[in-house]
Symmetry: C2
């Protein structure tokens, strides 16, 4: 099987590495930055290419792992691609490829990727969508080589999933950052709350978050809330975040 | 050593179990609810007591793990206690015991406890504070039997730590709940985002959250943000939360 990877960001990097580690070979890698294409290509024994025109039009699979707003444009520059082409975005609908390709789809690994941390693909939900049965079968089989958790999810549902992921991951990480700021401003080490962060996420692996909510807001402990708001007096935005999240917790009881 | 546990809530339960599992015996347990005192006492081979007057005044250690606003009052009812008395609260200052006891302190395990989930105490930061050197030595030695991570933290810093914990744990869990609501309203399973939640917390075990922030806000992907805000049109409070957290992420870049 000949696979092309377009992109060299977090998703492209982790996906290319996962594919390579499963014994599949990646033929070519193109990226907006040729330097980055070279760096990634070296890791997965692929050929870096400078121009999109050099991409092999007869490869079996082309994975377009570029920024959301570049998917359409880069796709159009590969319009004569004969194989199956997929993008990897949670937020871009599949029909962005409508009229440009015959066989296309989406291959969305629902995970947060940072270059500095390896991830184990085997349990990551891979959400696939495709414009015909053959493409669907191909993508399903391919995805199952990377993960035990492969799901058919249409564009409408994937959009929702992506929104939920922003709350559960991006916003959550920002709350860790705000906690870190509170600690740092008071010369306390971030290390102190790492076990707490770990346990908080571990709890919801086997329970629903509503069932394990703790803290002043869910106990309606107004006295503690008032003290906390006072401590946040010099950081009005954090005070606002404290207020709105506490209110929201109370409403969800 | 004779240990008394006052309370039967999440902290009392997990602490009593951890102490018992380390081979230390708990003499008595008192709780506002005698039924709950009995349930916990049975788990740790302790004697449940009905009235605070029955609590052995000559025990070595009394652990007051009751609600924040009950610490002072319950403490006063034990005023003739001769041993060392500690409370377990993040938000209550140590001097709540000032004038009531000779040897007192705080024993604050920085973790989130739910009855339905066992926790391994051995890595939980235990924050201790005390009113004299002998008490400090006693508490430090005792805490080290439960955890490798024992820290001297004064009331001022503990208050800050507790605030940071609200962001990193209670608010984070609520974001999981909001993500769960988004999924449920669209007939998607919470299971889909469990690996993401796990990885998000795992990332910050060895990195700082600011360095691993991902998502539309940090990329300044306004198009995706607008689409997400539209999807939240029928839930104005969640829309507000989306806006303020996105703004805050942008400010922290």
């Amino acid at each position: 099987m000949r696979i092309i990877v377009i992109g060299s960001g977090n998703v492209a990097t982790h996906l290319a590495r996962a594919i390579y580690s499963k014994g599949e070979s990646i033929a070519q890698i193109w990226s907006f930055s040729f330097d980055n294409a070279q760096i990634l290509a070296e890791q997965v024994s692929a050929q870096p290419v400078k121009n999109l025109s050099e991409v092999d039009r007869n490869a079996d699979l082309c994975i377009l792992a570029v920024k959301d707003d570049a998917v359409k444009d880069v796709g159009e520059q590969l319009a004569d691609f004969k194989g199956i082409i997929v993008h990897t975005s949670g937020a871009v609908p599949m029909n962005v490829f409508n009229g440009t390709f015959d066989n296309y789809g989406v291959f969305y690994p629902l995970q947060t990727f940072s270059k500095s941390k390896e991830v184990d693909f085997s349990n990551i939900p891979i959400c696939i969508e495709s414009n015909n049965v053959e493409t669907s079968n191909f993508l399903e089989e391919f995805a199952k080589r990377l993960s035990v958790n492969v799901q058919e999810i249409n564009s409408e549902k994937r959009k929702i999933l992506h929104l939920a992921a922003v709350f559960a991951c991006n916003f959550t990480n920002h709350l860790y950052a705000l906690a870190g700021k509170i600690l740092q401003d008071n010369e306390l080490a971030f290390d102190l709350i790492r076990p707490l962060i770990s346990e908080t996420s571990s709890k919801v692996q086997h329970h629903l978050p509503l069932d394990v909510q703790t803290g002043p807001a869910v106990r309606n402990d107004i006295d503690t809330e008032q003290k906390h708001l006072q401590l946040l007096e010099n950081t009005p935005q954090m005070q606002e975040i404290y207020k709105i999240l506490s209110e929201s917790i109370k409403k969800s009881r």
